[in-house]
């Protein structure tokens, strides 16, 4: 994008000279100017972006300050006055929100309105529960705040509020462990997911989408336990074995739709997650404990969720047609088989095999695409597996040392040879054998 923009700017700068020297006439000069001016790609408006960020940040700071004022617990003020004061930030925020909507103000105002209304509602609930000593546990407080403020996401379409809502949901998830039903956590997730998915698809390849994807990935990984809190450890492992490849598949879908790698947090997190899970899975002790199914809501939910996710992955496999994705697709099956048969040795060697094959497939793919980062990823997977096996088995220390040295040298030599070959291919246009 940047190079195209700079090239067009250069060309627009050259046009007066071309006209002056008689290479193009005035009419053509104007036509070319008009045409190429329209072609300048719409870059990121950093001034606007800063305004949005600082708008949201100011709102967060104001609400944070008001929350701390509330936390001070002003018992010197008569409680009727305290009660009335509690409503001041809420009424002011609602007025601000009305003004934003009536005047159809820009994104910074929308962001600030959502944060201010949501935050001031949290303040007034906190203040009332403080005055009357009600509200009980923190999860009950978060429940009230989340339940009545989620529509703000859809009304103001704010990303700062999405972030705050997800933080609130994370607090609720972990504060309500063993106390409240997991169904409420799912209900809140159902409130927020349509908004997140809509924005991801609408704003693909924009800075907004990148922001939402990043916070969504962190949220999913942190909250996976919270959403399936009552599952047996074995089932939980199987759940991860489906979730991580699914994140990778989602990243691949975004890649197909033209999202560049550095913006594609799903692809990066998915690959790293799958690699980490395969590494853990190739350690025997990881699979101890087997599995038991008590058919509670969490476990039933995990089975339904994982099955749907797996079906989606199967469907995507046919659309993406990438041979290296076969391994992440087999990964959940291997994990489930190992857990069901309660065979730690079987599942461990299955994971070793899968990780090595995945590494080889990535290396093969890197050769056909002349892609050095992909080559190194493939080699990295194989190297990790060699190291794990050396540590996880009773190999004498001298052989381990030799093994490490050979692996290191192989890594370096392959990189040098293939990078030379790739350069040669790029220069000559030959097909790599």
């Amino acid at each position: 994008m940047a190079s195209k923009k700079s090239f067009i700017n250069w060309l627009l700068g050259e046009l007066p000279d071309l006209e002056r020297n008689g290479i193009i006439d005035e009419e053509n000069c104007e036509k070319l100017h008009a045409y190429y001016s329209r072609q300048i790609p719409a870059g990121i408006n950093y001034q606007r972006l800063m305004l949005i960020i600082f708008g949201a940040l100011s709102a967060v700071l104001v609400m944070g300050g008001v929350l701390l004022l509330v936390a001070h617990n002003w018992q010197d003020i008569p409680f009727r006055i305290r009660l009335s004061l509690a409503f001041v930030p809420l009424v002011a925020s609602l007025t601000f929100g009305w003004y934003t909507k009536l005047d159809d103000r820009n994104q910074a105002w929308q962001e600030a309105s959502a944060v201010l209304i949501g935050g001031s509602f949290a303040v007034v609930v906190a203040m009332v529960s403080q005055i009357y000593h009600t509200g009980g546990m923190i999860y009950e407080y978060m429940f009230t705040c989340l339940l009545f403020t989620f529509p703000l996401l859809y009304i103001f379409k704010g990303q700062a509020y999405l972030l705050l809502f997800l933080i609130g949901l994370t607090i609720y998830n972990y504060a309500s462990l063993r106390i409240d039903s997991v169904a409420y956590s799912w209900m809140f997730l159902a409130f927020v997911l349509p908004y997140a998915v809509y924005y991801i698809l609408k704003e693909l390849n924009s800075i907004k989408m990148q922001f939402i994807c990043n916070i969504l990935i962190v949220f999913i990984i942190i909250n996976f336990f919270g959403f399936f809190r009552d599952c047996h450890a074995g089932m939980f492992k199987a759940g991860w074995a489906v979730l991580l490849p699914a994140i990778l598949f989602a990243g691949k879908r975004f890649e197909k739709r033209g999202l560049v790698l550095w913006k594609n947090s799903f692809l990066v997190a998915g690959f790293l997650g799958v690699a980490a899970f395969m590494t853990l899975g190739s350690i025997e002790s990881f699979w101890s404990g087997g599995v038991s199914f008590t058919s509670n809501l969490s476990e039933t939910g995990l089975i339904v969720f994982s099955s749907l996710l797996y079906l989606w992955m199967l469907f995507q496999m046919f659309r993406l047609k990438e041979s290296s994705l076969v391994i992440p697709l087999i990964l959940p099956l291997a994990a489930v088989a190992g857990i069901l048969f309660d065979s730690e040795v079987l599942v461990r060697y299955l994971f070793v095999l899968l990780m090595v094959i995945y590494g080889i497939l990535l290396i093969v793919k890197s050769c056909s695409r002349h892609n050095m980062p992909l080559l190194n990823l493939g080699m990295f997977l194989i190297a990790v597996q060699i190291i794990i096996q050396f540590f996880d088995s009773d190999v004498p220390i001298l052989i381990r040392a030799a093994g490490f040295i050979v692996t290191g040298i192989a890594f370096l030599v392959t990189n040098i040879i293939l990078s030379r070959k790739f350069k040669h291919v790029e220069r000559t246009g030959e097909v790599l054998k």
């Binding site: 409503f87 909507k101 906190a126 529960s129 009357y132 000593h133 407080y141 009545f148 063993r178 106390i179």
Partner: protein, 192 residues
């Protein structure tokens, strides 16, 4: 849905949310005032501590001594909502005599959540676990309470108003005197 319809829906949603966020705290106040003015008073023996809530400030964490029902006949799953029937012992202190899935036809009760069963005790989560105090007096209150239970005659009592399953804390007394008053007296004494 065209643009005008979308804007209309958005406005309707905003009006509903505006009313809801105003109605929720107002309802909380109304409910609290009703319980305080019309509820029956019960005294629970408690053991308070002094932690901090990041959203709502200093409070005394109140652990009701008898936060369980002994020899409960029914089984509940953790987190299940149930109704704890309140009774008074010979000294006039409140305790929970029974747990049921439905509100009892007569007598006062509190809507609670079942936690777990420990031998013959069915532990419950009460809706009053916190007593908010001023940040200035909280450390003093904490110090006071730390040394309070050294004498077995000392008694810390939570005053709770109960009406239609709703419970509301109306005060915390140390040997019959409100804790705020005890702390103020101590602070005045110490400053002399």
């Amino acid at each position: 849905m065209n643009r005008i319809e979308r804007i209309a829906v958005n406005w309707v949603l905003f009006i509903i949310v505006s009313l809801a966020v105003l109605a929720v705290p107002l309802y909380m106040i109304f409910r609290a005032e009703t319980v305080l003015s019309k509820g029956n008073l019960y005294l629970f023996k408690v053991e308070p501590r002094d932690p901090y809530d990041p959203f709502r400030g200093r409070y005394l964490d109140i652990r009701v001594q008898q936060n369980y029902v002994e020899n409960c006949k029914k089984d509940f799953s953790p987190g299940e909502v149930c109704y704890a029937v309140i009774a008074k012992d010979a000294k006039g202190f409140a305790y929970f005599s029974e747990l049921s899935t439905q509100p009892p036809a007569a007598g006062d009760y509190i809507r609670v959540k079942f936690r777990w069963k420990n031998k013959n005790k069915s532990l419950i989560e009460l809706p009053f676990g916190r007593y908010f105090v001023n940040e200035k007096i909280a450390p003093e209150a904490d110090k006071l309470l730390a040394g309070f239970f050294t004498d077995p005659k000392d008694c810390c009592v939570l005053k709770v108003k109960v009406k239609d399953g709703q419970a509301l804390v109306s005060g915390l007394n140390l040997n019959g005197i409100p804790i705020e008053e005890v702390v103020k007296r101590k602070m005045t004494r110490d400053s002399r």
